[in-house]
Amino acid sequence: MDFSFTEEQEILRDTAKRFIQNECGTEFVKQLVDGNREFTDEIWQKMVELGWTSILIPEEYDGLGLSFVDLSVILEEMGKGPLPGPFTSSVVLAGETIRLAENPQKAQHYLSRLGAGEIRGTLAWAEEGDLNMWDNINLSARVQGDAFILDGRKVFVPHADQADFVVCVALCEGETALFVVDIPCPGLKINKIDTLDRTTSLCLLDFGSTLIPRDALLAKGKSAETVLGSVLNRINVAYALDMVGGGQKVLDIGVEYAKTRIQFGQPIGAFQAIKHKAAELLMEIEGARSIVYYAAWAQDQEGTESTVSASAAKVFCTEMYRNVTKEVLQILGGIGFSWEHELHIFLKRAKCLGTLFGDVSFHREKLAVALNY
């Protein structure tokens, strides 16, 4: 058993750490949240040049063919910005769906360009109505001649406004089906919605009798469900990694403040009310780290552990991130409650990532099913 990262992975982590510091510092994120800056193609291009978009792309499609653990070190560091933008949705949601579907024609068409960063994609899963997303796929796909017609609505699609294609989970002849829809697409309206967390762009997708070619079908039935299951595991582990990075950054902010802020003649961190709070938060963060590193490793293995560990990581990391942001706000006092301080950016991201692709109750129930209660 070995819980450590390789030297290459540590180098990757260092690079990511420096990238976040230089390209995605606190001022940048604050300006972006205030609408004074945007996530640009220039930043995207820098990540592409570092090879990050091709980490999971197989070598036969000009990618690096590396593991989820290799990607995980970057995702954790990104959470410390937090890095806004479409990286995770494109690399994990779109890239992994297409890679795992093993549809040669689609792989050929999308994977090398995804790896080269020429295009970006995302995945449309959630729909309005029942919050248990498994039983709530109503986007319909009807066959008409040489085409499919899509009708319905998707919500909370991450970064669809920055995507060149979207993989849609639909219902086709009573079965789950995955379709790759290139954007723009006549009859498909994509509206970015104004949400709490401005580092994650969430979109509403309206399909109004949208005509897509027959070969847009990526997978159907059992194989579509298997692919979807794996991708949902991976995105939840990816978010959990982001949350661990974010949680660590927020605790660092809180501890730094507790060492320097003087009240009643001593740094507030000397008071046990603050010190014990900080210690509890570290306990949660380190626990989150243990489970999410294991979950990242399990994604590269065969077997049910990938599902169990992914849901466990999502549950624990979500509650950790929410609690860390809440309690560090309390440590910071008035300044933490102000828009000016960056704390609220993390707090809102915790709310967003915690509910995307299944919230804690969803994942606990998923575990209950997997563990046969």
Binding site: M1, S4, A270, A279, W297, L367, Y373
Partner: protein, 408 residues
């Protein structure tokens, strides 16, 4: 990163597991209905027998040198054996091994003289000697260094006077690891020394104290003019604080891995319980709220297990664990309370049953565990002390003004 066993480790595990099948106390392995013994004499006898069989088979003291009766095994072998034996020690022997194997033996190995190692390690690893711990005193709990039991040197002997309290297993222990004050004239941490004391010596009186579960597991120990030879001191005079606190790293981490597997067994029993209890016309395991609570416990147990593996993985590479090493005790002690709370909530009014005859749903076992778990956040350093340690030594937060002044 790799969580697979190697071929050698797999083979070792298979061999050990099959050995255990025929050497574990009868009726425990795989039996969710197992009821633990309640009598300490019986548990001590069970412990001695089991430890002896481990020793004879070469499975005792996996990380101890062969010269002292150990197995000189790898860290992974230690994990494999600890995970398999942890639940047995805790559920069938009242955790009697904790002081002997987790504290006394590693301390003697790290700090003891050659003669002390030769004398004490083999019989400790073979279960012949059971140890208790004389650390806490009426006025020295969290502030352990405030302890007042004195050892005065007279010739080549020390004379011990004073009182210890909360000493687990002292009523059945053969020997005691004891921290006492040898020099009252230096700052409090500096005047302590560490001794090995034969519990049969004249002048030692042990009074059992019942815990809230009604179990006399710990004791007061009174020392009245107890004379011990100088060569029973571990380390130099004045080293007591260091000896007591710095040797526990490895065993603490191994202990936490063993506890994780112990709690996993309790979780399995809990799931079984949820399938048995009826709620709203169906098994409680089908109730949405119960399912959420069980799954949450499972998540936390995974966290505990992988916290432990992170520590062990560092040790295997010859490194000491970082921040993750300090959080274990704080996390597991609270987790164990949550786990047992789910169980007693599940059985509702039956959880009050502490009756030797009428005990549906294993009510006695669960209420005993629930009550015992309340001690987890107190023993071996309270949660508050753990948080001070994490806050100050890991996060680098300042000591509070009053304490900082007193220390210097």
């Amino acid at each position: 990163m790799d969580f697979h066993y190697t071929e050698e480790e797999k083979a070792f595990k298979e061999k050990f597991d099959s050995w255990l099948m025929s050497n574990a106390p009868e009726g425990y392995l795989g039996n969710m209905d197992y009821e633990p013994p309640e009598d300490w004499e019986q548990m001590a006898a069970e412990y001695r027998k089991f430890q002896r069989s481990l020793f004879d088979a070469g499975y005792a003291g996996i990380n101890f040198p062969k010269a002292y009766g150990g197995a000189e095994g790898t860290v992974m072998e230690n994990i494999i054996v600890s995970e398999a034996t942890g639940p047995i020690y805790f559920h069938t022997m009242g955790g009697l091994h904790v002081i002997s194997l987790g504290l006394a033996a590693p301390t003697i190995l790290a700090w003891g003289s050659e003669e002390q190692k030769q004398t004490f390690l083999p019989p400790t690893l073979s279960g012949e000697i059971i140890w208790c711990q004389g650390f806490s005193e009426p006025n020295a709990g969290s502030d352990l260094a405030n302890l007042n039991t004195r050892a005065t040197r007279i010739g080549n002997e020390y004379v011990i006077e004073g009182q210890k309290v909360w000493s687990s297993f002292a009523h059945i222990a053969d020997w005691c690891i004891l921290v006492v004050r040898t020099d009252p004239n230096v700052p409090k941490h500096k005047g302590l020394s560490y001794f090995l004391v034969d519990m049969k010596l004249p002048g030692i009186e042990v009074n059992p104290i019942k815990n809230i579960a009604g179990d006399p597991e710990f004791n007061e120990i009174f020392f009245e003019e107890v004379r011990i030879p100088e060569d029973m001191r571990v380390g130099q005079e004045g080293d007591g604080w260091k000896v007591a606190l710095t040797t526990l790293g490895h065993e603490r981490y191994v202990g936490e891995v063993a506890l994780a597997s112990t709690f996993l067994r309790e979780y399995e029993e809990l799931v079984e319980l949820a399938r048995t209890v009826k709620l709203n016309g169906a098994p409680a395991s089908k109730d949405p709220l119960i399912r959420q609570r069980l799954a949450q416990i499972f998540v936390e147990l995974m966290v505990m297990r992988y916290n432990g593996y992170r520590n062990m993985s560092k040790l295997a590479k010859g490194e000491m664990p970082g921040p993750e090493g300090s959080i274990g005790k704080l996390f597991w002690s609270e987790l164990h309370q949550r786990l047992t709370e789910v169980a007693v909530d599940l059985i509702g009014p039956y959880h009050q049953l502490n009756d030797p005859i009428y005990r549906p749903y294993h009510s006695t076992r669960w209420i005993q565990r629930f009550l015992r778990a309340k001690g987890n956040t107190i023993e071996q350093g309270t949660s508050e002390i753990q948080k001070n340690i994490i806050g100050e030594r890991v996060l680098g937060l300042p000591k509070d003004a009053a304490r900082a002044k007193k220390k210097s």
